[in-house]
Amino acid sequence: MNKVQRETWIALLLVVPVWAIFGQLPVLLIYLEGPSFLHLFAFACATIIGGLSWMLLLFFNRKWKRKAKIEFDERDKLTLIRSTLAGYIMLWIYFIAACIYVWLTASPDRSISVNLMPIVIVEGIAVFIFVQSVTTLIQYGRVGKNVEK
């Protein structure tokens, strides 16, 4: 497993859940109990933690530093370009689907809940990271064949 694969697994197992779950909890609380300073502060904290969760990658990279001279090459670069493109396309489809959902479910007076905006944006970030991570791992495929011990 190389550096990119390690980072991808961390993003998939830690960063995506942080965005998807902890970013939504304050929104759910605001929806159920109404807005308050504490809920808004919790939402701000959750999004800041989600944004800083990339710091986990630095921590794990230091911890699992290997002796290999080269950790990143042209194949890794190509893989990341393709997976980022896939993530971007999926994000775009997600936003279109979210818009259609909002149009279809809007109340008779054509108003929507203010809670939808943070949900759509935060989940969009989670969708992007999830698709990027999965497509990265798919491109690397199964490691094991043609490997010399």
Binding site: N2, A68, I70, E74, R75, V143, K145
Partner: protein
């Protein structure tokens, strides 16, 4: 529509050149071991500079390492 195939003799050349390992070849050519594994298995077509680096590492022309066959289907 044409279908391209890129084959290589890297595995054979490695054994003919002091049986160097995939890791040693990777270090000499400036890529990761996973990339050498993928190239050997034919799962990744290297860039032209990398293909030249690999060929020069073995001291042979690039055509000796990589063969390109275009099939019309």
């Amino acid at each position: 529509m044409s279908k391209s195939n890129l084959t290589n003799n890297i595995r054979k050349l490695r054994f003919e050149n002091d049986q160097i390992t995939q890791q040693q070849l990777a270090d000499k050519t400036g890529v990761t071991r996973q990339t050498i594994i993928a190239i050997e298995a034919g799962k990744y077509a290297p860039s032209l500079p990398l293909a030249f680096k690999i060929a020069r590492n073995f001291g042979v022309p690039i055509e000796t390492v990589f063969q390109y066959e275009a099939e019309d289907s």
